[in-house]
Each structure stands twice: as structure tokens, then as C-alpha cells.
Amino acid sequence: MQPETAVVKVSAGAQPAAAEADTKMLINGVSVYYKAFRAIKEIDLPVYENRVTAFIGPSGCGKSTLLRSLNRMNDLIPGARLEGEVLLDGENIYAPGQDVVDIRRRVGMVFQRPNPFPMSVYDNVAFGLRLLGLRKKSVMDEIVERSLRAAALWEHVKDNLGQSGMALSGGQQQRLCIARAIAVEPEVILMDEPTSALDPVATLTIEDLIQTLKEKFTIVIVTHNMQQAARVSDFTAFLSMDDDRAGYLVEYGPTMELFTNPRKKLTEDYITGRFG
């Protein structure tokens, strides 16, 4: 039918299935309901430390839902309910008595659309630090600079940290949001299609950034772009929708294997663009 199956190349930069990586998070039999509707069902998945894990799959299969269950952002949606458990360093973040604010500090998030706050670049990055109770100006300056550097934005904004964060370009805004997220030194960073609102050049800078960020952080990324998943991630989870419209895990594995030698026909069809 299709003349050629465009097999996606896996870049040499991506780490092979590193057996020595520790499990940072563990998704354990997770189902999420919106009111009576089950959006995802019984998903089991590890997230390895200092690795990039990608969620791919057709629209509406529950990638965002799964991602948001990793830092309890679904708590904010009335009627949303989770079954199963999500372990962070072996502890269930949904256990009673867990402090959701602390969980969100440890598991940060970057959203699909850049969402800088309506304040200066500096204040955007300092926002989380002030929340933590940091008062010392010198330390604040230092961490703001360090975070902006890590997000590859420092050179652009260093001469005018007082300008509004909303006055930056889309790609710069997204990097500002990344700087803001990493300033509070989370352990895990969740990214929901962080480049889908960006042009190819800005996308590449973010992808490069992800590669360097994983040295310090554990990263989970949702993407619709197969090449992106192949380029940046070490592990990939492919989700699809069942007949009851609930999302389920079709296949999970090291990105290289999943893309070059998928075990399931459905996965192969999806990554070669024959379905989805």
C-alpha cells in the first residue's frame, strides 16, 4: 500500500537501553477516570532516572492524562479519579498524607503552550524560589542566572532581565518556562508536547536542551513527533485507544528497539505512519 516505510533513525546520541539506570518513578496499574469515562486503563510503566522517557500515541489516547497523573495535576480537574499507584522513589504519591505541593515541587512540569507569568523574566524564574522562602538577593541572582543559562536563554536576556516574559518569542518563552521549572531543582520534569507551538529551529534548541538536562533531571516527554521521540528519548511508551476509547499501553521499551524492531504490529504501523 504505502510505497516505503520511512523508518525513523535513532540518533547515536540517545543512550542505549541502560540497564544500570535506577527506577525513578513507577506507574503501577494506573487507570484514570473523568467522571464515569475511563481515559486510560491499567498502565504499568517505569520511568528511569536521568533518562528521557517519551509517550507517543494517537490524539486522545491519554498521553496528557498519564503525564499529569505523575504530579497529580489531574487532582485539579473536578471528577477526575485515579486507580492504581504512582511511585516516586518507591513511595506512592497518591497515598493518604502525601503533600501534593511537595510532590509538584519534586516533579515539575512544562506545558504545551508557553505560559510565562505576566511579570519580568527575572521574576518568572524567581517565582518558585520565593515560594520556597529564598530571601537572599545574591543567591537569588545566582540561581536565576544559572537556570537561564541551563535553559540556553541567558545570552538573550541577560541585558534586560526586567523585560516582560510575555514579550519574548515563543521559543524563548518556552525556554523561560523551562528555566522557571528547573530553578527549584525538581527531580523529574514532565513536558507535554513542549515544542508543538514552536518553529523547527526553536524545536531543535529545546531538543538539545533536553539532552543536557537529563544529566541532572529525569525527563518525561509527550510528543506527536516520531522523529523527536527517536531523537531525544531513551525509552518510549506507545499508547493507543481501545474499543471503549480508553487508552492502554501497547508497547514499551528502549527507544532504539521500539523504533527499529517493534514487537507489535500496531506499533510498527503507527511509527511508520500507516495509522494514527
Binding site: L134, K136, E142, E145, R146
Partner: protein, 314 residues
């Protein structure tokens, strides 16, 4: 550049403890606020229901007032007067307010828009008795008589800013992308406004309209100089006499608006000060009816919203 962690400089534990205490304090404060808001409402409602409920009877809704001091009679005149004047006010104010709100949405920064916003704000802040005085000066004095028409006009002036500004706020909440989506399909601006933006904002607009109506129904002061009051106001009587004299529909309608009229809050205000016990009791009954009306309008508005939401979002 030193790479010291932020956590070397903050005490997370004490920060969290402070946050939790603050959280608890704020939560209790909000709980207190709820009490402060709910207690008076419940109190007033219960009080009015107890004082007024027992004087509710059929005659209250079906009869004109009995002569001073005589028992029996009702407030049909006030119910009909309120209905006539609020209807007139709604027919005038709601379309104007919606058009104004759409204008503000489509051309938010013209000087006309600024003027409109400024004047509606001023109007909303004007004491209603002043608006009544205005109605007296430009309608009653000119026509040389008090009338339901004059009352309806001043009520329209009072409703207009309430409905306009709430409709504007609701329209502004509709994402710009939605309107632009329609415009990008070649939809003219009025069409996009009517077919896409208005339905999206409908919930909130209807609530605003209902609040405007409730406001108009509850007004007393501006009616003092315009509708004045009329113990014999009865639409049925006007229609019957019109038919007897073979008058045209227009003429009869004119009669309905040309006469001085009464209104529920106006009657409440007058009756409450009279020395006759029957009248004071009826004042409580009217208070009860007004209260029921306000609650009813709120419940209706909410039910409508819930229904629409279910239909829109499954």
C-alpha cells in the same frame, strides 16, 4: 559560577510548616466568610417566610386593594404594575445592552467604546433615586402625568449598565481564537458574533440578564416619582373597558402604559408605614412574594445553566 543548590539556602521544613499553618488559617477564614454570607441570607429568608408566609392567600394575588382599614383585598395592582414596567424595561434595555456589549467586544479601543464604558460605569453608580428624578423631569413633567411608561423607562436605565457590563465580561471570556476561527471561514463580523460568540457566552449573559431583571423588580425609589402608585391598576379592567369602547389594540396598550401604576416594592414601602394592621400584614406578604421571586429567578437561571452545560459538554 558556584553551583550551590537553592536548598542550601532555604529551610524547606519550616517553609512547609509555615505554609500549612497559613493554609489552615486561610481555610478557616474562607469558612468564616461562608458563614458571614450564609447566615444573614438564611436569617432574612426564615424571618420573612415566618412573618409573611401566613398572610399569603389567594386574594392577595387576585384582588385589588380593599379600602383603607377594611380587611381583605390583595395586591394584584402591584403585581401587574411590576410585570408591565419590568417587561417594558427588559424590552428596551436587553437588546440595547447586548448590542453595546458586542460593540465593546468588536471595537474595544475606539473613543466611542471608552465613552460607552465610562458612562455605563457612571450610570451603574448613580443612586437610583436620582435616575427616578431624571425620569420625573423629562417624562412626567413633559407629559404632565405619572405613568407606567415613565416607570418602565427609568427601570430600563437602571437595568442597562448591569446587563451591558456583565454581557461584555462574558463575551470577553470567549477565546479570541473562536471568533477568529469563524472570521477565517469568511464569516462576517455580525455573523461570527451571533452564531459563534453569543452561544459560547450565552450561559453568563442569561445570568446577567436575570440579575438585571431581579434588580429592576426590586427597585422602589425611582418609581416614587414616575409610576407614583395606583390602587386601581388592573390590566383586565383596562382591556375590558377598551373593548367596550371599541378601541384598537394599540390604543388599549397605550392605556396600559399611560396610567400611573404600582409595583411590589412600592406597595411594600407604602403599606409598611400605615397604621392599619391588615396593610402591615400585607406588606410582609409582599416581602415574602418578592423574596420568592428573587430566589425563583436565581434557581431558574442556575437550572438553565446546568441544562445548557449538560447539552454542550455531555
Amino acid at each position: 559560577m558556584p553551583t550551590e543548590s537553592v536548598y542550601a539556602h532555604v529551610n524547606l521544613e519550616s517553609n512547609y510548616r509555615r505554609r500549612k499553618i497559613l493554609n489552615a488559617v486561610m481555610l478557616s477564614l474562607t469558612g468564616l466568610t461562608v458563614l458571614v454570607a450564609v447566615v444573614p441570607l438564611v436569617w432574612i429568608t426564615v424571618y420573612v417566610v415566618i412573618k409573611g408566609g401566613k398572610y399569603i392567600n389567594w386574594a392577595l394575588f387576585a384582588r385589588l386593594p380593599a379600602p383603607m382599614g377594611a380587611p381583605g383585598g390583595g395586591v394584584l395592582h402591584a403585581i401587574e404594575g411590576t410585570a408591565v414596567m419590568v417587561t417594558l424595561a427588559s424590552v428596551i434595555a436587553i437588546p440595547l445592552a447586548l448590542l453595546g456589549a458586542f460593540y465593546l467586544l468588536a471595537r474595544p479601543n475606539t473613543s466611542l467604546a471608552h465613552g460607552l464604558r465610562f458612562s455605563t460605569d457612571m450610570l451603574a453608580g448613580t443612586p437610583s433615586i436620582v435616575i427616578g428624578l431624571f425620569g420625573y423631569a423629562v417624562i412626567v413633567v413633559v407629559q404632565k402625568h405619572f405613568s407606567a411608561f415613565a416607570g418602565g423607562i427609568v427601570l430600563a436605565i437602571i437595568m442597562l449598565p448591569v446587563v451591558l457590563r456583565s454581557a461584555e465580561e462574558m463575551l470577553k471570556l470567549v477565546p479570541a481564537e473562536m471568533r477568529e476561527g469563524a472570521l477565517a471561514l469568511g464569516s462576517p463580523e455580525w455573523h461570527a458574533a451571533l452564531k459563534v460568540v453569543l452561544p459560547a457566552a450565552m450561559e453568563g449573559i442569561v445570568t446577567g440578564v436575570m440579575l438585571g431583571i431581579a434588580r429592576a423588580v426590586g427597585e422602589t425609589a425611582p418609581l416614587l416619582f414616575t409610576a407614583l402608585g395606583n390602587d386601581n391598576y388592573e390590566i383586565g379592567k383596562i382591556v375590558r373597558s377598551g373593548i367596550r369602547h371599541h378601541q384598537s389594540v394599540g390604543k388599549i396598550l397605550g392605556q396600559i402604559f399611560a396610567q400611573p401604576a404600582d409595583a411590589l416594592p412600592l406597595t411594600l414601602w407604602k403599606y409598611a408605614q400605615q397604621p392599619y394592621q391588615e396593610r402591615v400584614q400585607q406588606a410582609w406578604a409582599v416581602a415574602f412574594v418578592l423574596m420568592l421571586f428573587a430566589l425563583g429567578i436565581n434557581i431558574l437561571a442556575r437550572a438553565r445553566l446546568a441544562y445548557r452545560r449538560r447539552k454542550l459538554y455531555g
